[in-house]
């Protein structure tokens, strides 16, 4: 069989509307909102001829498809490649790219290692590091929000939380970006990522070994689970790799996007300063309006359906989380950034059995940083144009020039 983008060709049922655009065009990735609207308006599920895939973007169908792990599996890859038909570029993740019962076992170990209780123990370090980083920046007239803050904070606290002996901030941030570009089609972004992958992956894999970790951190918890026989030592190393691929670039993106939201909505910054207990709900709203993970895929593992339309086995389905998080039928006024919205049920962390297992730590990091900033920063003002960095799965800023005005 000749594969299309690493998956089986798809002749969709006639009743499925066609949306003839390239969602991975760099101009679309830079400003996806018109595409999100087109996708939702076209129908509950659409066919994208360029890649021979289906796509969902309305809230209900996106949530239903993304969380239906029985019909729409993850083990065949959450990108364009169908792992059943083509060899993946790296050994698949044993959590993200696995189905039950294998997934159940690794998920249990990861949930424990990233539990609310564990995160509580990390909060003091998150808070004191946030103070150091923010104090340093307040002395400067202008900052570059991405490097100076969004990357600086997680690359300090997260490797320490994991217990890494080796820290290479650039590789840590870039590994995530590579993994996320790899889930896209074979475009320039993916090819550039694949060219850098060997060097960065080699460093990452070496850094996951037990002797490269302290006995204290989250990594050690995974190796302890291996000692207890819950997983093997090789599996523990693979799960440490999952921390590093899914836990750095994502939070970097979350922080950058939060700074962007507040720089664009000064009234909401005033609201946060007036009531810093809104730091956590504010991050939920940042996640909803910016969807740091904009799209992941699923693969139909049986002949099934979406909203009554037939979907054949092997079909790849784009689950456009960014579009679901902007669906007016779900949110009423999706464009408005309101930190007290409490958008329970947003799709930024996914839903169902694969729902982000690191969400508690991501929330802990953002709560610490936003609370410290609400205490010290009077205003967050743009100091130049914000530029988005196209990525096949992540919507992140490339540059964010800002002025932080101290209180």
């Amino acid at each position: 069989m000749d594969l299309i983008e690493g998956h089986a060709p798809l002749a969709p049922s006639d009743d499925i509307p066609v949306l003839d655009i390239d969602p991975y065009d760099e101009a679309v990735l830079a400003d996806p909102f018109p595409y999100y609207a087109q996708l939702r308006e076209a129908g509950p599920v659409v066919f994208i001829p360029r890649y021979e895939v289906l796509a969902v973007g309305r809230y209900e169908e996106t949530k239903a498809t993304f969380s239906d792990h029985e019909n729409f599996v993850s083990s065949r890859g959450i990108g364009f490649n169908d792992f059943k038909l083509e060899k993946p570029w790296r050994p698949p993740s044993i959590i993200l790219e696995a189905d039950p019962p294998d997934h159940t076992k690794t998920r249990r170990v990861m949930s424990k290692a990233l539990s609310p209780k564990v995160v509580r123990g990390l909060m003091d370090d998150f808070r004191s590091t946030a103070e150091e980083v923010v104090d340093g920046l307040l002395e400067r007239s202008e900052i570059e929000g991405v490097v100076d803050l969004a990357e600086a904070f997680p690359t300090r606290v997260f490797p320490r939380a994991v217990g890494m002996r080796d820290v290479h901030a650039r590789h840590l941030v870039d590994y995530g970006a590579i993994v996320f570009n790899a889930v896209g089609p074979d475009n320039a972004l993916r090819r550039a990522a694949m060219a850098r992958a060997p060097e960065v992956s080699a460093w990452i894999n070496a850094a996951c070994a037990r002797d490269r970790l302290t006995g204290e951190g989250l990594g050690a918890l995974l190796y302890e689970a291996a000692d207890a026989g819950e997983i093997t030592a090789e599996e523990a190393a693979m799960l440490v790799r999952s921390f590093l691929s899914a836990g750095v670039d994502t939070t970097v993106t979350g922080i950058g996007n939060a700074l962007w939201c507040f720089s664009q909505n000064p009234g909401q910054w005033e609201a946060l300063k007036a009531d810093p207990s809104l730091a956590r709900p504010a991050f939920e709203e940042v996640l909803r309006v910016t969807s740091p993970v904009h799209t992941f895929l699923r693969t139909a593992n049986v002949d099934t359906e979406i909203a009554g339309h037939p979907v054949p086995e092997s079909a790849k389905v784009l689950c456009v989380l960014g579009a679901a998080n902007m669906d007016p039928d779900k949110w009423g006024d999706p464009e408005a950034f309101r930190i007290d919205r409490r958008p329970v049920g947003h799709m930024a962390f996914g839903a169902g059995i694969h729902g982000c297992v690191g969400q508690n730590i991501a929330r802990g990091e953002l709560e610490a940083l936003l609370t410290v900033m609400a205490d010290k920063v009077a205003r967050i003002e743009p100091a130049g144009e914000a530029v988005w960095r196209p990525n096949n799965a992540i919507r992140a800023l490339d540059r964010l020039p800002l002025k932080l005005i101290p209180k």
Binding site: G350, A351, G355, C356, Q359, N360
Partner: protein, 106 residues
């Protein structure tokens, strides 16, 4: 049908719900404080933890193994009566259900 939420300080709030809703959804719809439900029901946050009132224990069913694993991760102590309210679906027999909200959720 109705569900009553009792806060750690003893104050009570009774809300309207329908069969098929989860106890978490009913609380979110009525803005009941203390049911944070950050993950929206994916069993990934344990911030929707409740204690089922003893009088209702026999009507709320049993918790699954994965629910139990997650409860074990919750901030407040897991007890025999602990449930994740996102996993607790209302049925007709549960009209009047009373649950207690723990001290802390995160």
């Amino acid at each position: 049908m109705k569900v009553t939420y009792i806060q750690p300080d003893g104050s009570e709030q009774t809300v309207e719900a329908k069969p098929g809703d989860s106890v978490m959804q009913a609380a979110i719809a009525a803005n009941v404080p203390g049911i944070v439900a950050e993950c929206g029901g994916s069993m990934a946050c344990a911030t929707c933890h409740v204690y089922v009132d003893d009088a209702w224990a026999s009507r709320t069913g049993t918790r699954s193994e994965s629910e139990e694993d997650m409860l074990d991760c919750a901030m407040s102590e897991m007890k025999a009566s602990s449930r994740l309210s996102c996993q607790l679906r209302l049925t007709d027999e549960m009209d009047g259900l009373t649950v207690h909200i723990p001290e802390e959720q995160f």
